[in-house]
Symmetry: none
Subunit: 206 residues, 4 copies
Amino acid sequence: MAEAVQPVRKPRQKRGIETRQRIIDAAQALFSRKGYHATNSKEIAAEAGVAIGSFYAYFKDKKQLFLEVLKRHIEATKAMIMTRMQEIDFSSESVNEAIYLLIKALYKAHDLSPDFHREAEAMRYSDPEVAQLHDVFHESFRTDFAALLDSFKARLRVTDIEAAAHIVMAASEEIVHSTKIFGETQIEEDRLLSGLADMICRYLFK
Amino acid sequence: MAEAVQPVRKPRQKRGIETRQRIIDAAQALFSRKGYHATNSKEIAAEAGVAIGSFYAYFKDKKQLFLEVLKRHIEATKAMIMTRMQEIDFSSESVNEAIYLLIKALYKAHDLSPDFHREAEAMRYSDPEVAQLHDVFHESFRTDFAALLDSFKARLRVTDIEAAAHIVMAASEEIVHSTKIFGETQIEEDRLLSGLADMICRYLFK
Amino acid sequence: MAEAVQPVRKPRQKRGIETRQRIIDAAQALFSRKGYHATNSKEIAAEAGVAIGSFYAYFKDKKQLFLEVLKRHIEATKAMIMTRMQEIDFSSESVNEAIYLLIKALYKAHDLSPDFHREAEAMRYSDPEVAQLHDVFHESFRTDFAALLDSFKARLRVTDIEAAAHIVMAASEEIVHSTKIFGETQIEEDRLLSGLADMICRYLFK
Amino acid sequence: MAEAVQPVRKPRQKRGIETRQRIIDAAQALFSRKGYHATNSKEIAAEAGVAIGSFYAYFKDKKQLFLEVLKRHIEATKAMIMTRMQEIDFSSESVNEAIYLLIKALYKAHDLSPDFHREAEAMRYSDPEVAQLHDVFHESFRTDFAALLDSFKARLRVTDIEAAAHIVMAASEEIVHSTKIFGETQIEEDRLLSGLADMICRYLFK
DNA sequence: CATGAATGAGCTTTCATTCAT
DNA sequence: AATGAATGAAAGCTCATTCAT
């Protein structure tokens, strides 16, 4: 017997779209505040001001909703970094200065929603689908960054640009987490960020 | 109504100590295989071959058990790294070589129980107590590493040794995770590990 | 971790109100038949013909449910006594006769649900909240009774009307319990009730 | 197949008798402090300073232990009242005075262990075996009291002495409970106790 | 006699999900 | 579209009791 599959509602009208947004907003707020596992669907519906039935009309389950929130968060992060990168004039400034500004851009991007970022990181380690989303984002970013490096080729000392891009990004993300997510570090942010920039420049450039 | 406080059992006899061990072993296996949130106390008891009552005689709840498993895992990791470090002759070898061996030691330490390590990392991002345990470990390690760097002072180009120790360790851990935990990276391990060693050496030494 | 506060459901629709009623009815039946401590929430839900989830949607726990049943029982008892009292013509009848009818009213009120009454009495002795509910009821009743006595002032021999009201009520309740709750007394009800009426009249009136 | 019934241990040696006593003491303390249902066997064993195994060597189960505690408590109460009664010189004093002293004796008997008394009262209402023990005590007491009344026959106005004895005892017990167990009454003890004595005297005597 | 580790039935409670209104 | 009452599987945890040492 064919299952009566109630497909997820794809809102076309203004009201429906707004309702969907409200649920995503509520979810992001609660996932940030209490974490994914400690948040239940009723709470999300309540925070969004809709009935629990509406929740399941718009989202298959809590997990799918998390992925939607994550997608939106990744897009916002991407956009923010891109905007900041466009402000950097790579031709005129010294490469060291450019690297520092890049790290700052990454750093600032974590101000968007640090607690959600933290929760997303947790999920990345425990859930394959979340890891997958993260990877796609990371890889596209790495490609862009590799291209940027390629445009500096003359001054580069590294030869394996792809690997270098990955290494630099991974290192940067972890250091930023040290300061933004686990703020309890004994060492001040400035010392870590300038050390990081120093390390990256020495590594990449002649 | 005053609740009966039944404190956690501290086994003194051989049998009790073994039972406790069996539960920790079972928990580590299940947390690794299915993750913390998808594992329940009944399963752990079953895997350990004990009654559910014994679970709660030895551990307040699943969370406390996780922390016990984590403590043991951290101790084992520490021991393994220490052993491998003692095999490195820092006086005779080149510093570059020594750094590479250090990274290898860290890398090998992740073979102990990679899946549990992954789960621990997830918990670190979502649970303050786990983050705390990680931090204590990390800080003691950083202190040791800083002392090691200090012994090379003459050849060091970095001046803020503490920050440098933190940066190097954070970068190394994240790169190792790229390969050991999220093995799906397009880039081969060797390229990442040798790039990492290169970066660290250029950063640290003249 | 902040707990999700799921407040008790306040039914607005007809169906919800009926469900809540059915649970209260079932609970009263089971508390009467088996006692509070020997009754569990699953049984109550089953007897009410609802899922266990509904139990916890409407009531925080078994204790709160007991208090609801008790409130309803107290209201019913109050109403019954009031009705019977209104049938007594205090002006025309002899006070002795009136007292006897009052005792009879109290006595009859115990026919409403003698077993629940017994269980409530047990809870009164072991649970402060139940004791509190009982007290509020008792005190309001005592006030009314004192007012009634006050209207007979001319024929009263007692001067401390408040204390007298309390004493008379306490004595009456305990005697009625002897017969209604612990029916095994060797002595017939009539002897006890008429003796009680005699005692009270001699005490109160000239 | 014959069940391996491990009979309850009847200690003959000094040590065994002391152990049994310690368990009864511990149980009375805990039943008083937390109530029968909120006290578990492990706690009792711990409070008595014995292993849980010893508990079950001496007592079939928690219920039987409660009955043992209750028996001892009833005996102690009996003994106390008897002692105080012997101090009353019924021949020389006025009957009113004697009644007042009797009430005082009952009142003082509740100082032995008021909280255990309260718990016993709760159990009396919910457990037939406890009710039975109470009844036996009560009836023997009533018989004694009726005999005492009989010795005053000339001055008595009541004719049904048995019923009168029951009524007087029941009333007294409930009033004493008002003050000793539910101490929150608005009305002072003195007013209640002297009112009670007044009521009883008017009822019993010419 | 005494110990306390071990047992597991069974209780309370939560929460993702469905569906009649 | 929206509602929220109802469901019940399944998780967490307790505790009376047994029995090997």
